[in-house]
């Protein structure tokens, strides 16, 4: 492998990291909104959020990317850049799954906490901000870190329809020009492993610490 080819793989890895970070940040914000909507007091809001999450969870990411890439043509936008299209699709995808994870964590906070907060006169938002969210976020950290691993792996799908120049795309281009699949796809696999394995281990460690009282 020459110097330029290694650089190409590392640039692809940077693209992967960039897309994953964008997804987690924006998808996290949207996911939190979805989670709060899922447990809202208004019934139509709850049902709408539930239906949206079911819709997105039953869609392959590749189809979502296709819709986000070719969809803007409806609004008259002719050309769509690769990163915004990929980021939009991944944010929609991540927000649905994170919304469900965080809804579970919000509902896992004991009912007595919700009631006691109401008894001492906190408003709904104060209750959420000061009592429920801190406890729920602590419980949510292991599955969220686990989902971050999924996000990093799913960024590889952006190389297919959209052609965003992340790690899988660059590895495929290198393979197409040199016909050495074991070398380039193996290197890409190693780079993905180096990104994902520490996060997997961290998620497991967080889970153990969270349930330390049970052992």
């Amino acid at each position: 492998m020459s110097h330029e080819q290694l650089l190409s793989l590392l640039q692809g890895a940077w693209g992967t990291v960039l897309l994953s970070a964008l997804t987690l940040l924006l998808g996290g914000a949207t996911g939190l909104a979805l989670a709060l909507a899922r447990i809202a007091a208004l019934r139509w809001l709850r049902q709408l959020a539930a239906a949206w999450i079911q819709l997105i969870q039953g869609t392959p990411l590749l189809v979502l990317m296709g819709v986000c890439f070719y969809g803007p043509a409806l609004a008259g936008i002719g050309t769509v850049e690769a990163l915004p299209a990929a980021a939009t699709a991944m944010v929609i995808y991540a927000s649905a799954f994170l919304g469900e994870i965080w809804r579970g964590c919000l509902q896992a906070v004991h009912r007595s906490q919700w009631e006691a907060a109401e008894c001492i006169g906190l408003t709904r938002w104060q209750r959420m901000r000061m009592i429920i969210l801190p406890q729920a976020l602590r419980m949510a950290t292991p599955p969220t870190v686990g989902f971050a691993v999924q996000v990093i792996k799913n960024t590889s799908v952006a190389s297919l329809v959209i052609g965003f120049a992340e790690l899988s795309y660059n590895a495929k281009v290198l393979n197409n020009s040199t016909f050495q699949p074991f070398l380039y796809f193996g290197s890409a696999a190693l780079l993905y492993f180096a990104m994902c394995y520490p996060l997997s281990r961290w998620s497991r460690a967080l889970e153990r610490k969270l349930h330390a009282h049970r052992r």
């Binding site: 869609t59 189809v63 409806l74 691993v149 393979n175 016909f179 890409a188 994902c196 997997s200």
Partner: protein, 227 residues
């Protein structure tokens, strides 16, 4: 909005799309069956006495779970072709899916096996059941029954991820849809129809698994209580 929807030209290709749906169903069914068997075998090996076996299976699971399915497909299919091992593309696609889903199923089934209380094993020994009977009736079947919903979700996710295999040439639903797109140049309409088809499949598949669970795990149905 200046865009004119034209679903008619896409819908004219319905036999091809139906063919794609059938291929996806076959691929998912085969990968689910073989992947589950591989995963269950790996889960059992994970609890073995021999350290080398535990490490080997653990290494396989960690490697597969921390790399994307796309890279695994490329590595397997292009890699095997480069050393001269050729096979029909559907066989290669099924192999890639089985290797992938085997690692995830291994972890899920292992969690189920570890959730069986050791009191169950002791009681079974006291009743005079042989090792094989204990393993099948007291460990494996109840474990799989417990993790059946988790397994269902994982297999549905695998069916959705099988769309990635179109990139290596497998003629499943997305691969077929690419051909329709080349014919009609109606990318957005094709993706919308694909969306609907995959949604339908992702509703039917859990229903099928539920039905299978009702047929195989009779304890819940007959006694009304889980383990």
């Amino acid at each position: 909005m200046h865009y004119e929807f034209d679903f008619a030209s896409v819908a004219a290709h319905w036999p091809l799309l139906l063919q794609g749906v059938w291929t996806t169903v076959q691929l998912s069914f085969l990968a689910t069956l073989l992947g589950f068997l591989l995963g269950a075998a790996c889960a059992v090996m994970r609890g073995s006495r021999h350290g080398w076996l535990r490490t080997a299976v653990g290494g396989y699971v960690e490697l597969i779970r921390n790399t994307p399915l796309l890279i695994q497909c490329y590595f397997l299919i292009f890699g095997l072709s480069s050393v001269g091992v050729t096979m029909p593309i559907m066989a290669g696609a099924t192999l890639a899916l089985v290797i992938n889903i085997g690692a995830y199923s291994c972890e899920i089934v292992r969690a189920g096996i570890e959730s069986i209380h050791h009191g169950q094993l002791e009681a079974a020994r006291c009743l005079g059941l042989s090792s094989a009977q204990v393993f099948w009736h007291v460990v494996l079947l109840p474990a799989v029954e417990r993790v059946w919903p988790a397994l269902t979700s994982q297999f549905v996710l695998m069916m959705l991820a099988s769309s990635i295999l179109s990139s290596v040439g497998a003629e499943e639903l997305l691969g077929v849809a690419n051909r329709v797109q080349s014919d009609t140049f109606r990318n957005f309409e094709v993706f919308l129809i694909l969306w609907g088809l995959y949604l339908g499949l992702s509703c039917l598949m859990p229903a099928g698994f539920w039905l299978l669970g009702q047929l195989v795990f009779t304890r819940r149905r007959k006694l009304g209580t889980p383990l």
